[in-house]
Protein backbone atom coordinates (compact mmCIF):
# COMPACT_ATOMS: atom_id res chain seq x y z
CA UNK A 1 0.00 0.00 0.00
CA UNK A 2 1.20 3.45 -0.84
CA UNK A 3 1.31 6.45 1.40
CA UNK A 4 -1.01 9.41 1.12
CA UNK A 5 1.61 12.11 1.02
CA UNK A 6 1.82 15.71 -0.01
CA UNK A 7 1.75 14.88 -3.72
CA UNK A 8 -1.43 12.87 -3.43
CA UNK A 9 -3.14 15.58 -1.41
CA UNK A 10 -2.02 18.19 -3.89
CA UNK A 11 -3.48 16.08 -6.67
CA UNK A 12 -6.79 15.91 -4.83
CA UNK A 13 -6.76 19.68 -4.38
CA UNK A 14 -6.18 20.05 -8.14
CA UNK A 15 -9.32 17.98 -8.55
CA UNK A 16 -11.13 20.16 -6.03
CA UNK A 17 -10.17 23.24 -8.00
CA UNK A 18 -11.95 21.81 -11.06
CA UNK A 19 -14.96 20.75 -9.00
CA UNK A 20 -15.36 24.30 -7.72
CA UNK A 21 -14.73 25.81 -11.13
CA UNK A 22 -17.26 23.51 -12.80
CA UNK A 23 -19.81 24.28 -10.10
CA UNK A 24 -19.23 28.00 -10.58
CA UNK A 25 -19.54 27.75 -14.37
CA UNK A 26 -22.65 25.63 -14.08
CA UNK A 27 -24.20 27.94 -11.53
CA UNK A 28 -23.39 31.19 -13.31
CA UNK A 29 -24.18 29.89 -16.80
CA UNK A 30 -27.23 28.06 -15.51
CA UNK A 31 -28.28 31.15 -13.58
CA UNK A 32 -28.13 33.47 -16.58
CA UNK A 33 -29.75 31.01 -18.93
CA UNK A 34 -32.15 29.86 -16.22
CA UNK A 35 -33.39 33.42 -15.78
CA UNK A 36 -34.28 33.48 -19.47
CA UNK A 37 -36.04 30.12 -19.07
CA UNK A 38 -37.97 31.38 -16.04
CA UNK A 39 -39.04 34.54 -17.89
CA UNK A 40 -40.06 32.52 -20.95
CA UNK A 41 -41.96 30.10 -18.73
CA UNK A 42 -43.98 32.99 -17.23
CA UNK A 43 -44.31 34.96 -20.46
CA UNK A 44 -47.59 36.12 -21.94
CA UNK A 45 -46.76 34.34 -25.21
CA UNK A 46 -47.90 30.75 -25.20
CA UNK A 47 -45.23 29.62 -27.70
CA UNK A 48 -42.48 30.84 -25.39
CA UNK A 49 -44.19 29.29 -22.38
CA UNK A 50 -44.52 25.94 -24.10
CA UNK A 51 -40.94 25.85 -25.42
CA UNK A 52 -39.60 26.66 -21.96
CA UNK A 53 -41.82 23.97 -20.42
CA UNK A 54 -40.56 21.44 -22.97
CA UNK A 55 -36.95 22.38 -22.32
CA UNK A 56 -37.45 22.00 -18.58
CA UNK A 57 -39.16 18.60 -18.92
CA UNK A 58 -36.36 17.24 -21.12
CA UNK A 59 -33.54 18.27 -18.78
CA UNK A 60 -35.39 17.39 -15.59
CA UNK A 61 -36.58 14.10 -17.04
CA UNK A 62 -33.24 12.69 -18.16
CA UNK A 63 -30.16 11.77 -16.08
CA UNK A 64 -27.37 14.32 -15.90
CA UNK A 65 -24.99 11.52 -16.84
CA UNK A 66 -26.79 11.06 -20.12
CA UNK A 67 -26.83 14.78 -20.77
CA UNK A 68 -23.06 14.84 -20.31
CA UNK A 69 -22.65 11.97 -22.80
CA UNK A 70 -24.90 13.55 -25.38
CA UNK A 71 -23.18 16.92 -25.24
CA UNK A 72 -19.67 15.50 -25.08
CA UNK A 73 -20.00 12.96 -27.89
CA UNK A 74 -22.67 14.89 -29.76
CA UNK A 75 -20.45 17.90 -30.28
CA UNK A 76 -17.61 15.64 -31.37
CA UNK A 77 -19.95 13.98 -33.88
CA UNK A 78 -20.66 17.38 -35.40
CA UNK A 79 -16.99 17.45 -36.30
CA UNK A 80 -16.16 20.19 -33.85
CA UNK A 81 -13.36 19.28 -31.51
CA UNK A 82 -13.69 20.92 -28.15
CA UNK A 83 -11.96 20.34 -24.88
CA UNK A 84 -13.64 18.18 -22.32
CA UNK A 85 -14.16 21.03 -19.88
CA UNK A 86 -16.02 23.11 -22.48
CA UNK A 87 -18.38 20.25 -23.25
CA UNK A 88 -18.89 19.64 -19.56
CA UNK A 89 -19.49 23.34 -18.91
CA UNK A 90 -22.13 23.42 -21.64
CA UNK A 91 -23.85 20.33 -20.27
CA UNK A 92 -23.90 21.71 -16.72
CA UNK A 93 -25.20 25.07 -17.92
CA UNK A 94 -28.06 23.38 -19.77
CA UNK A 95 -28.83 21.13 -16.83
CA UNK A 96 -28.68 23.89 -14.20
CA UNK A 97 -30.70 26.33 -16.32
CA UNK A 98 -33.61 23.89 -16.49
CA UNK A 99 -33.69 23.39 -12.72
CA UNK A 100 -33.06 27.02 -11.78
CA UNK A 101 -35.56 28.14 -14.42
CA UNK A 102 -38.23 25.99 -12.83
CA UNK A 103 -37.34 27.07 -9.29
CA UNK A 104 -37.51 30.75 -10.26
CA UNK A 105 -40.68 30.23 -12.28
CA UNK A 106 -42.28 29.16 -9.02
CA UNK A 107 -40.87 32.23 -7.29
CA UNK A 108 -42.21 34.58 -9.96
CA UNK A 109 -45.65 33.02 -9.79
CA UNK A 110 -45.67 33.23 -6.00
CA UNK A 111 -45.56 37.04 -6.13
CA UNK A 112 -49.11 38.39 -5.72
CA UNK A 113 -50.79 39.61 -8.89
CA UNK A 114 -51.35 42.99 -7.23
CA UNK A 115 -47.64 43.71 -7.53
CA UNK A 116 -47.55 43.60 -11.32
CA UNK A 117 -50.94 45.33 -11.47
CA UNK A 118 -49.60 48.20 -9.39
CA UNK A 119 -46.53 48.35 -11.63
CA UNK A 120 -48.76 48.32 -14.71
CA UNK A 121 -51.00 51.04 -13.32
CA UNK A 122 -47.92 53.20 -12.74
CA UNK A 123 -47.01 52.71 -16.41
CA UNK A 124 -43.92 50.58 -15.79
CA UNK A 125 -42.91 48.43 -18.76
CA UNK A 126 -42.03 44.75 -18.76
CA UNK A 127 -38.31 45.22 -18.14
CA UNK A 128 -38.74 47.54 -15.17
CA UNK A 129 -41.71 45.56 -13.90
CA UNK A 130 -39.56 42.43 -13.80
CA UNK A 131 -36.20 43.93 -12.85
CA UNK A 132 -37.44 46.38 -10.20
CA UNK A 133 -40.62 44.82 -8.86
CA UNK A 134 -41.14 41.10 -9.50
CA UNK A 135 -37.68 39.49 -9.72
CA UNK A 136 -36.16 40.93 -6.53
CA UNK A 137 -39.09 39.48 -4.59
CA UNK A 138 -39.22 36.23 -6.58
CA UNK A 139 -35.50 35.52 -6.22
CA UNK A 140 -35.73 36.18 -2.51
CA UNK A 141 -38.47 33.61 -1.97
CA UNK A 142 -36.57 31.18 -4.23
CA UNK A 143 -33.28 31.57 -2.39
CA UNK A 144 -33.52 28.48 -0.13
CA UNK A 145 -34.40 26.24 -3.09
CA UNK A 146 -31.64 27.85 -5.14
CA UNK A 147 -29.04 27.13 -2.47
CA UNK A 148 -30.37 23.58 -2.25
CA UNK A 149 -29.87 23.15 -5.97
CA UNK A 150 -26.34 24.55 -5.76
CA UNK A 151 -25.48 21.79 -3.30
CA UNK A 152 -26.87 19.20 -5.73
CA UNK A 153 -24.87 20.77 -8.54
CA UNK A 154 -21.58 20.67 -6.64
CA UNK A 155 -22.03 16.96 -5.94
CA UNK A 156 -23.28 16.43 -9.50
CA UNK A 157 -19.98 17.67 -10.95
CA UNK A 158 -18.51 14.30 -9.93
CA UNK A 159 -20.34 12.87 -12.94
CA UNK A 160 -17.97 14.80 -15.18
CA UNK A 161 -15.45 12.06 -14.39
CA UNK A 162 -17.32 9.84 -16.84
CA UNK A 163 -16.04 11.82 -19.82
CA UNK A 164 -12.51 11.71 -18.51
CA UNK A 165 -12.58 14.93 -16.59
CA UNK A 166 -10.34 14.94 -13.53
CA UNK A 167 -12.35 16.66 -10.85
CA UNK A 168 -12.35 15.79 -7.17
CA UNK A 169 -14.07 12.39 -7.36
CA UNK A 170 -12.01 11.25 -10.34
CA UNK A 171 -8.82 12.50 -8.70
CA UNK A 172 -9.75 10.42 -5.68
CA UNK A 173 -10.21 7.36 -7.86
CA UNK A 174 -6.78 7.84 -9.42
CA UNK A 175 -5.06 8.31 -6.08
CA UNK A 176 -6.89 5.32 -4.71
CA UNK A 177 -5.74 3.16 -7.64
CA UNK A 178 -2.15 4.24 -7.09
CA UNK A 179 -2.08 3.81 -3.34
CA UNK A 180 -4.51 0.90 -2.87
CA UNK A 181 -6.11 2.73 0.05
CA UNK A 182 -9.61 3.38 -1.26
CA UNK A 183 -11.25 3.77 2.14
CA UNK A 184 -8.85 6.46 3.30
CA UNK A 185 -8.79 8.29 -0.03
CA UNK A 186 -12.53 8.34 -0.54
CA UNK A 187 -12.91 9.22 3.12
CA UNK A 188 -10.85 12.34 2.46
CA UNK A 189 -12.71 13.07 -0.76
CA UNK A 190 -16.06 12.69 0.98
CA UNK A 191 -14.93 14.95 3.81
CA UNK A 192 -13.95 17.64 1.33
CA UNK A 193 -17.38 17.51 -0.37
CA UNK A 194 -19.03 17.62 3.03
CA UNK A 195 -17.05 20.64 4.20
CA UNK A 196 -18.22 22.55 1.12
CA UNK A 197 -21.82 21.37 0.95
CA UNK A 198 -22.83 21.23 4.59
CA UNK A 199 -22.40 24.95 5.36
CA UNK A 200 -24.41 25.73 2.21
CA UNK A 201 -27.21 23.40 3.34
CA UNK A 202 -27.17 25.03 6.78
CA UNK A 203 -27.32 28.46 5.17
CA UNK A 204 -30.28 27.37 3.05
CA UNK A 205 -32.13 26.00 6.07
CA UNK A 206 -31.45 29.22 7.97
CA UNK A 207 -32.78 31.35 5.11
CA UNK A 208 -35.91 29.26 5.04
CA UNK A 209 -36.45 29.64 8.79
CA UNK A 210 -35.92 33.39 8.61
CA UNK A 211 -38.44 33.67 5.77
CA UNK A 212 -41.02 31.55 7.56
CA UNK A 213 -40.69 33.91 10.50
CA UNK A 214 -41.04 36.99 8.30
CA UNK A 215 -44.13 35.54 6.66
CA UNK A 216 -45.90 35.10 10.00
Amino acid sequence: MGVIGQNELLFLLQGLKWTLLLSAIGFIGGGLFGLIIALARTSAHSALRKSAAGYISVFQGTPLLMQLFVVYYGIALLGVSIEAWVAVAIAFTLHASAFLGEIWRGGIQAIPKGQSEAANALGLHYVSRMKDVVLPQALKVSLPATVGFLVQLIKGTSLAAIVGFIELARAGQIVSNQTYRPLLVFGIVGAIYFVICWPLSLYGAQLEKRMAKAAR
Partner: protein, 253 residues
Protein backbone atom coordinates in the same frame (compact mmCIF):
# COMPACT_ATOMS: atom_id res chain seq x y z
CA UNK B 1 -65.37 76.68 -33.37
CA UNK B 2 -64.28 75.82 -29.82
CA UNK B 3 -65.37 78.24 -27.13
CA UNK B 4 -65.08 78.68 -23.38
CA UNK B 5 -67.14 75.59 -22.70
CA UNK B 6 -64.15 73.59 -23.93
CA UNK B 7 -62.95 73.43 -20.36
CA UNK B 8 -66.06 71.31 -19.95
CA UNK B 9 -64.88 68.81 -22.54
CA UNK B 10 -64.58 65.33 -21.08
CA UNK B 11 -61.31 64.16 -19.59
CA UNK B 12 -62.51 60.62 -19.87
CA UNK B 13 -65.31 58.89 -21.68
CA UNK B 14 -66.66 55.40 -22.10
CA UNK B 15 -69.02 54.69 -24.95
CA UNK B 16 -71.08 51.54 -25.34
CA UNK B 17 -68.49 49.48 -23.47
CA UNK B 18 -69.06 45.75 -23.07
CA UNK B 19 -66.87 43.24 -21.33
CA UNK B 20 -67.15 39.51 -20.88
CA UNK B 21 -65.24 37.05 -18.70
CA UNK B 22 -65.82 33.97 -20.82
CA UNK B 23 -69.59 33.63 -20.87
CA UNK B 24 -70.10 36.06 -17.99
CA UNK B 25 -71.23 39.48 -19.19
CA UNK B 26 -69.33 41.71 -16.75
CA UNK B 27 -70.07 45.14 -18.22
CA UNK B 28 -73.16 45.91 -20.28
CA UNK B 29 -73.33 48.93 -22.53
CA UNK B 30 -71.50 51.31 -20.20
CA UNK B 31 -71.69 54.99 -21.11
CA UNK B 32 -69.87 57.37 -18.84
CA UNK B 33 -68.38 60.81 -19.27
CA UNK B 34 -66.16 62.44 -16.69
CA UNK B 35 -65.19 66.08 -16.97
CA UNK B 36 -62.01 67.57 -15.63
CA UNK B 37 -62.22 68.05 -11.86
CA UNK B 38 -65.31 65.91 -11.48
CA UNK B 39 -65.63 63.46 -8.60
CA UNK B 40 -67.58 60.32 -9.29
CA UNK B 41 -68.49 57.72 -6.71
CA UNK B 42 -69.34 54.26 -8.03
CA UNK B 43 -71.29 51.97 -5.77
CA UNK B 44 -73.25 48.79 -6.02
CA UNK B 45 -73.40 45.25 -4.68
CA UNK B 46 -70.32 43.07 -4.99
CA UNK B 47 -69.96 41.55 -8.43
CA UNK B 48 -71.84 44.44 -10.00
CA UNK B 49 -68.87 45.35 -12.20
CA UNK B 50 -67.78 48.59 -10.55
CA UNK B 51 -64.18 47.51 -10.01
CA UNK B 52 -64.09 46.01 -13.48
CA UNK B 53 -65.29 49.32 -14.88
CA UNK B 54 -62.49 51.39 -13.41
CA UNK B 55 -59.91 48.71 -14.19
CA UNK B 56 -60.88 49.03 -17.86
CA UNK B 57 -60.06 52.74 -17.80
CA UNK B 58 -56.33 52.13 -17.32
CA UNK B 59 -56.35 48.91 -19.34
CA UNK B 60 -55.79 46.51 -16.45
CA UNK B 61 -58.77 44.77 -18.06
CA UNK B 62 -59.47 44.55 -21.77
CA UNK B 63 -62.84 45.47 -23.19
CA UNK B 64 -64.53 43.54 -25.97
CA UNK B 65 -66.72 46.30 -27.36
CA UNK B 66 -67.01 50.05 -27.23
CA UNK B 67 -64.64 52.98 -26.90
CA UNK B 68 -62.68 54.42 -24.02
CA UNK B 69 -61.07 57.83 -24.46
CA UNK B 70 -58.76 59.45 -21.94
CA UNK B 71 -57.43 62.95 -22.56
CA UNK B 72 -58.04 62.55 -26.27
CA UNK B 73 -56.29 59.18 -26.47
CA UNK B 74 -58.39 56.28 -27.64
CA UNK B 75 -57.52 53.10 -25.79
CA UNK B 76 -56.76 50.27 -28.20
CA UNK B 77 -54.52 47.23 -28.11
CA UNK B 78 -51.43 49.23 -28.94
CA UNK B 79 -48.90 49.58 -26.16
CA UNK B 80 -48.61 53.23 -27.09
CA UNK B 81 -52.17 54.15 -26.22
CA UNK B 82 -52.03 52.11 -23.01
CA UNK B 83 -48.81 53.88 -21.98
CA UNK B 84 -50.31 57.26 -22.72
CA UNK B 85 -53.38 56.54 -20.61
CA UNK B 86 -51.45 55.04 -17.69
CA UNK B 87 -49.20 58.09 -17.57
CA UNK B 88 -52.24 60.29 -16.99
CA UNK B 89 -54.32 58.08 -14.73
CA UNK B 90 -53.24 57.02 -11.26
CA UNK B 91 -54.74 54.11 -9.36
CA UNK B 92 -55.12 53.15 -5.73
CA UNK B 93 -55.96 49.55 -4.88
CA UNK B 94 -57.91 47.92 -2.09
CA UNK B 95 -54.85 45.96 -0.95
CA UNK B 96 -52.39 48.91 -1.30
CA UNK B 97 -49.96 46.88 -3.44
CA UNK B 98 -46.90 48.76 -2.25
CA UNK B 99 -43.61 47.18 -3.29
CA UNK B 100 -42.51 45.45 -0.05
CA UNK B 101 -38.79 45.30 -0.88
CA UNK B 102 -38.50 49.05 -1.39
CA UNK B 103 -38.59 51.89 1.10
CA UNK B 104 -41.54 54.29 1.08
CA UNK B 105 -39.41 56.82 -0.78
CA UNK B 106 -38.28 54.25 -3.36
CA UNK B 107 -41.88 53.17 -3.89
CA UNK B 108 -42.65 56.76 -4.84
CA UNK B 109 -39.61 57.47 -7.02
CA UNK B 110 -39.59 54.28 -9.12
CA UNK B 111 -42.24 55.17 -11.68
CA UNK B 112 -41.24 58.81 -12.25
CA UNK B 113 -37.65 57.66 -12.85
CA UNK B 114 -38.49 54.69 -15.06
CA UNK B 115 -41.51 56.05 -16.93
CA UNK B 116 -40.89 59.79 -17.10
CA UNK B 117 -37.10 59.60 -17.03
CA UNK B 118 -36.97 61.99 -14.07
CA UNK B 119 -33.58 62.19 -12.36
CA UNK B 120 -33.24 60.58 -8.95
CA UNK B 121 -32.85 63.92 -7.20
CA UNK B 122 -35.94 65.38 -8.87
CA UNK B 123 -37.96 62.22 -8.30
CA UNK B 124 -37.09 62.37 -4.60
CA UNK B 125 -38.10 66.00 -4.44
CA UNK B 126 -41.48 65.18 -5.98
CA UNK B 127 -41.87 62.15 -3.71
CA UNK B 128 -41.16 64.21 -0.59
CA UNK B 129 -43.68 66.80 -1.69
CA UNK B 130 -46.48 64.24 -2.01
CA UNK B 131 -45.45 62.26 1.07
CA UNK B 132 -45.66 65.53 2.97
CA UNK B 133 -49.09 66.10 1.51
CA UNK B 134 -50.39 62.74 2.74
CA UNK B 135 -48.64 63.55 6.05
CA UNK B 136 -46.27 60.62 6.09
CA UNK B 137 -42.94 62.17 5.13
CA UNK B 138 -41.38 61.15 8.47
CA UNK B 139 -41.77 57.49 7.44
CA UNK B 140 -39.99 57.91 4.08
CA UNK B 141 -37.09 55.57 4.88
CA UNK B 142 -39.17 52.76 6.34
CA UNK B 143 -40.43 49.70 4.52
CA UNK B 144 -44.16 49.17 3.86
CA UNK B 145 -44.46 46.32 6.38
CA UNK B 146 -43.40 48.71 9.16
CA UNK B 147 -46.44 50.93 8.51
CA UNK B 148 -50.08 50.55 9.50
CA UNK B 149 -52.69 49.82 6.84
CA UNK B 150 -53.90 53.40 6.81
CA UNK B 151 -50.38 54.71 6.45
CA UNK B 152 -49.66 52.23 3.64
CA UNK B 153 -52.74 53.35 1.76
CA UNK B 154 -51.73 57.00 2.11
CA UNK B 155 -48.31 56.07 0.71
CA UNK B 156 -50.08 54.32 -2.17
CA UNK B 157 -51.96 57.56 -2.87
CA UNK B 158 -48.71 59.53 -2.76
CA UNK B 159 -47.04 57.00 -5.06
CA UNK B 160 -49.78 57.47 -7.65
CA UNK B 161 -49.64 61.27 -7.27
CA UNK B 162 -45.89 61.27 -7.95
CA UNK B 163 -46.70 60.56 -11.60
CA UNK B 164 -48.72 63.81 -11.49
CA UNK B 165 -51.78 62.19 -13.06
CA UNK B 166 -54.76 64.07 -14.46
CA UNK B 167 -57.21 61.65 -12.89
CA UNK B 168 -57.19 59.15 -10.05
CA UNK B 169 -59.00 55.84 -9.80
CA UNK B 170 -59.75 54.43 -6.35
CA UNK B 171 -60.74 50.78 -6.12
CA UNK B 172 -62.32 50.31 -2.69
CA UNK B 173 -59.43 52.11 -0.99
CA UNK B 174 -60.76 51.69 2.55
CA UNK B 175 -62.28 48.19 2.37
CA UNK B 176 -59.17 46.42 3.64
CA UNK B 177 -58.60 48.82 6.51
CA UNK B 178 -59.38 48.53 10.19
CA UNK B 179 -62.23 50.91 11.05
CA UNK B 180 -60.03 53.35 12.97
CA UNK B 181 -57.85 53.87 9.90
CA UNK B 182 -60.60 54.57 7.41
CA UNK B 183 -60.86 58.21 8.35
CA UNK B 184 -57.22 59.12 7.72
CA UNK B 185 -57.45 57.72 4.20
CA UNK B 186 -60.80 59.37 3.48
CA UNK B 187 -59.46 62.69 4.79
CA UNK B 188 -56.55 62.40 2.38
CA UNK B 189 -58.97 61.73 -0.47
CA UNK B 190 -61.19 64.64 0.55
CA UNK B 191 -58.13 66.90 0.53
CA UNK B 192 -57.28 65.68 -2.95
CA UNK B 193 -60.83 66.36 -4.10
CA UNK B 194 -60.69 69.90 -2.69
CA UNK B 195 -57.54 70.53 -4.70
CA UNK B 196 -59.50 69.79 -7.85
CA UNK B 197 -58.32 66.28 -8.75
CA UNK B 198 -60.55 64.35 -11.12
CA UNK B 199 -61.54 61.23 -9.20
CA UNK B 200 -63.47 58.04 -9.80
CA UNK B 201 -63.95 56.15 -6.57
CA UNK B 202 -65.41 52.73 -6.05
CA UNK B 203 -66.43 52.86 -2.41
CA UNK B 204 -69.14 52.04 0.06
CA UNK B 205 -68.31 55.08 2.18
CA UNK B 206 -71.56 56.95 1.70
CA UNK B 207 -70.45 59.79 3.97
CA UNK B 208 -67.57 60.39 1.58
CA UNK B 209 -69.94 60.22 -1.38
CA UNK B 210 -72.27 62.82 0.18
CA UNK B 211 -69.41 65.14 1.02
CA UNK B 212 -67.30 64.92 -2.12
CA UNK B 213 -69.11 63.42 -5.10
CA UNK B 214 -70.50 65.45 -7.96
CA UNK B 215 -72.32 62.38 -9.13
CA UNK B 216 -73.05 59.01 -7.58
CA UNK B 217 -73.42 56.09 -9.93
CA UNK B 218 -75.16 52.91 -8.90
CA UNK B 219 -74.28 49.69 -10.73
CA UNK B 220 -75.82 46.25 -10.60
CA UNK B 221 -75.27 43.17 -12.77
CA UNK B 222 -72.77 45.01 -14.96
CA UNK B 223 -75.09 47.90 -15.79
CA UNK B 224 -75.29 51.50 -14.74
CA UNK B 225 -78.72 51.58 -13.09
CA UNK B 226 -78.85 55.10 -11.79
CA UNK B 227 -76.76 58.23 -11.85
CA UNK B 228 -77.50 61.36 -9.83
CA UNK B 229 -75.99 64.12 -7.69
CA UNK B 230 -75.59 62.85 -4.11
CA UNK B 231 -78.55 64.80 -2.62
CA UNK B 232 -80.94 63.31 -5.14
CA UNK B 233 -79.26 59.92 -5.05
CA UNK B 234 -79.57 59.47 -1.30
CA UNK B 235 -82.82 61.31 -0.68
CA UNK B 236 -84.72 60.29 -3.73
CA UNK B 237 -83.37 57.22 -5.49
CA UNK B 238 -85.61 56.41 -8.42
CA UNK B 239 -84.81 52.80 -9.21
CA UNK B 240 -86.08 50.06 -6.88
CA UNK B 241 -82.69 48.31 -6.95
CA UNK B 242 -80.99 51.49 -5.81
CA UNK B 243 -83.54 51.87 -3.04
CA UNK B 244 -82.97 48.29 -1.92
CA UNK B 245 -79.17 48.74 -1.99
CA UNK B 246 -79.26 52.01 -0.05
CA UNK B 247 -81.63 50.46 2.48
CA UNK B 248 -79.12 47.66 2.96
CA UNK B 249 -76.00 49.69 3.45
CA UNK B 250 -77.44 52.72 5.24
CA UNK B 251 -79.01 50.38 7.79
CA UNK B 252 -75.47 49.50 8.86
CA UNK B 253 -74.35 53.07 9.34
Amino acid sequence: MPHAADTQSPLLSMEAVDKWYGAFHALKNINLTVRKGEKIVLCGPSGSGKSTLIRCINALEKIEKGTIMVEGTKLDDSGKSIDAVRREVGMVFQSFNLFPHMTILENCTLAPMRVRGTSKADAEKIARKYLERVRILDQADKFPAQLSGGQQQRVAIARALCMEPKAMLFDEPTSALDPEMVKEVLDTMIGLARDGMTMICVTHEMGFARQVADRVIFMASGEIIEEAPPETFFRNPSHPRTQAFLGEILAHH
